[in-house]
């Protein structure tokens, strides 16, 4: 029984961090039709900024705010000054499909190199703001601590805010319209380019938050979020790249599958499990679980 509860709780925790990454990827995909591999680099970079602020200010939460804001700024800058010139240059030919992806890969490498150059490659730590000792339940300690709870709450709040933004505000409407049908959106007077940059900014902010929530339980170094990127991507694909709800659902499915498999079967099954889930989903529904029939214009 204890093992089951532990598995469920750790699944929720890992799933929620994957959810932040997959949300970020889906945000960029919906607005730009690009898989942003540089997301891992952006997230780590903003987490380093959060780390510096935390060290200097002594407060973790100020660091989180700094990470979120810098994440948004960096995301916007990348869209405006990097992605847009690339799209301008590559208008035709089959390269259109892979050039942006490859470009984000290159950007990832550059960001990680810059991080290594500025901060060195030694592992850093960000101490957690609340205790990481497990809660006491029925006399024994479970593998779920106040810190894990904090992560879960933070992610839930962020998701709620994002949903509110998308469903209840004009900007949210503009974001959805531009992603779904850019030409019509433009005709309605929506500044599609600016809206797209906003999408990147939101994605960058999500990545920064993900990093700050992830690092206290691990270490901070240039490649710290590579694995998260991979799982976030897989989660996004499972959920169907077109919906934010799918991104979160996919992340939870992935988190549960992996944690239960490693808990009950073998700790060596982490990556194979992810692959199996992905292949199963895509075999049944090539567009991901929650994808709609239309909308895949790639």
């Amino acid at each position: 029984m204890l093992k089951f509860i532990t598995a469920v709780l750790t699944s929720l925790t890992t799933g929620s961090i994957y959810a932040l990454m997959s949300t970020a990827l889906v945000l960029v995909w919906r607005s730009t039709r690009v898989i942003n591999f540089a997301q891992a680099g952006q997230a780590v970079f903003t987490t380093y900024i959060g780390y510096e602020v935390t060290i200097r200010s002594g407060s973790y939460w100020i660091g989180v705010v700094a990470a979120i804001i810098s994440g948004a700024l960096i995301g916007a800058v990348i869209d405006r000054f990097f992605m847009r010139p690339i799209f301008k240059r590559i208008k035709s030919g089959p390269i259109v499909m892979i050039a942006p992806v490859v470009a984000t890969l290159g950007l990832l490498g550059i960001i990680q190199a810059i991080i290594g150059f500025i901060w060195g490659l030694t592992y850093q730590s960000i101490p957690a703001p609340v205790s990481t000792d497990g809660f006491q339940v029925f006399g024994s300690t479970i593998a779920f601590s106040p810190f894990n709870l904090m992560v879960l709450i933070s992610v839930t709040i962020s998701m709620l805010l994002l949903t509110l933004l998308f469903q209840k505000t004009n900007i949210g409407l503009a974001l959805r319209a531009s992603a779904y049908s850019p030409e019509i959106a433009k005709l309605s007077g929506i500044k599609v380019d600016a809206i797209r940059t906003l999408g990147w900014a939101l994605a960058g902010a999500a990545g920064g938050l993900a990093g700050m929530l992830f690092v206290p339980s691990s270490y901070l170094y240039p490649n710290a979020m590579d694995v998260l990127l991979v799982f976030g991507f897989i989660a996004a694909v499972i959920g169907g790249l077109d919906s934010l709800f799918g991104a979160v659902a996919g992340a939870m499915i992935l988190g549960f599958a992996i944690n239960f498999a490693t808990s009950y079967i073998s700790s060596k099954l982490v990556f194979p499990m992810a692959f199996i889930i992905l292949i199963l989903v895509l075999l049944i529904k090539p567009g991901g679980i929650f994808s709609s029939r239309k909308g895949r214009k790639d």
């Binding site: 592992y123 730590s125 497990g134």
Partner: protein
């Protein structure tokens, strides 16, 4: 058609460019042994400097270099200065293979010293053709007993006692001191961990639970699941940790989080048991207090020991900013052995000569180890024993039960025997004068 021709030309051009680049950058072949000149001896080491293993063992090359700098400042080896080339292999076998090959082919080192890691170095040894090229592979920084196999690794010399030896002595220790408690083993899933498993078998220790984990696969959640499972064992089980320090730290921190520290008796193997590194990685002092660890050196905090205090002085002057601990002690000790080996090989320094020097005279080299060195014409095995101690909250290792009890054995089925060995005295000022 024109397009085809131009493209064809382009492909020929690219091939010629590649070929030309290779030819023009070729170096003339060497006649004598590389890496030795009248003024310099070049040694090489492939070791993790970055990555999670770098956290734990990154200090080794710096410590070796500090000792070499000290010797260089005091006349070098027959007037030659020692230069140490360090390459980072991130504890990855593939990288170790290419880096070691680079050390031989590109940096043209005379010999390798202190190569670190079982899986990494066993790959690197074959990939870099060390046997065919007769490159001395001194004092490898791993306890894998396989490296003592002269037919497979003819130019390698171990220094650390093997993991099989450690497991055998540990088996005797556990059976004596913790009879009646179940024993669980958590070990790295490669030759290092398997060497230990075999040693426990040879030591006839029954294991209630054996978990072998791939090096890169453990994280906080998985460790917690593992420990939760082990906590179901009744009594106070003994948990033996046969992994690198970063993983040992992970396990300790998970136990802290689950409040399971006092549930088990912890025994940290030699590879992952350095208290200072564990504390630096965030393990609480109360957690390591009482944990059992094995060593074959005096404790690095024991400044009454002649070797320790001499190395501390060298560290102060030539390795500024680095705190002195067991890792630094080990590095400097290997460096001191290296200098003695180079001296014993004589002024006419050759690779064959170096190997023979260690075989013939190595067992008499001065070193900080409290157990004997076993080099001979038929044995490339260094230290062969351990003593057990308990860590306290300050990270000091004190003999278990108060008295120092050293045991020696071999990596096969030989018995575990109490040792009466006394080590050679420290050369004056730590500068060897042997020949």
């Amino acid at each position: 058609m024109i397009r085809n021709n131009r493209m064809k030309r382009y492909s020929i051009v690219s091939a010629v460019v590649a070929a030309g680049a290779m030819v023009l950058s070729t170096l003339p072949a060497q006649a004598a042994d590389p890496g030795v000149t009248a003024t310099e001896i070049k040694l090489g080491v492939s070791t993790p400097l970055t990555g999670s293993a770098g956290l734990a063992y990154g200090k080794v090359p710096g410590a070796m270099k500090a000792y070499f700098d000290y010797i260089n400042a005091n006349g070098g080896v027959y007037g030659r200065k020692i230069k140490l080339v360090v390459r980072d292999d991130k504890y990855l076998p593939t990288l170790a293979a290419t880096q070691t090959t680079n050390l031989i082919l590109k940096d043209n080192v005379f010999a390798l010293v202190g190569a670190l890691g079982t899986a990494t170095h066993s790959k690197a040894y074959t990939a870099a053709s060390l046997a065919a090229k007769n490159v001395p592979d001194l004092f490898v920084n791993t306890g894998f007993s396989g490296f003592g196999n002269i037919s497979k690794y003819p130019t390698a010399f171990t220094v650390l006692p093997s993991y099989a030896m450690e497991a055998k002595i540990m088996s005797k220790f556990i059976k004596e001191k913790f009879a009646g408690q179940a024993v669980a083993l958590i070990a790295q899933d490669d030759e290092f961990g398997v060497d230990g498993v075999n040693g426990f078998k040879a030591g006839a220790l029954a294991l209630a639970n054996t978990t072998l984990y791939p090096q890169s696969s453990l994280n906080d959640a998985r460790v917690k699941a593992l420990l939760t499972g082990l906590s179901a064992i009744p009594g106070k089980p003994v948990v033996v940790l046969f992994g690198t320090t970063d993983v040992t730290a992970l396990i300790f921190k998970a136990a802290e989080s689950l409040n399971l520290v006092s549930k088990f008796t912890w025994i940290a193997g030699s590879v992952g048991g350095d208290a200072n590194t564990l504390l630096a990685l965030g393990v609480k002092p109360t957690t390591i207090d009482g944990a059992v660890a094995a060593s074959f050196f005096p404790d690095a905090k024991d400044s009454t020991d002649a070797y320790v205090s001499q190395f501390m002085k060298i560290n102060e002057k030539y390795n500024k900013g680095v705190s002195f601990d067991n890792i630094v002690l080990q590095g400097m000790n290997s460096a001191m052995l290296t200098v003695q080996a180079l001296r014993a090989a004589g002024k006419n320094l050759t690779r064959t000569g170096l190997i023979e020097a260690i075989q013939n005279k190595g067992s008499k080299f001065a070193s900080a180890g409290l157990v004997p060195l076993n080099y001979s014409a038929t044995s490339h095995v260094g230290y062969n024993g351990y003593w057990f101690g308990q860590l306290n909250a300050k990270g000091e290792l004190k003999p278990y039960g108060g008295t120092l009890a050293i045991f020696t054995t071999d990596s096969a089925a030989g018995a575990v025997e109490a040792s009466t060995y006394t080590r050679p005295a420290l050369p004056k000022n730590g500068i060897p004068t042997n020949s």
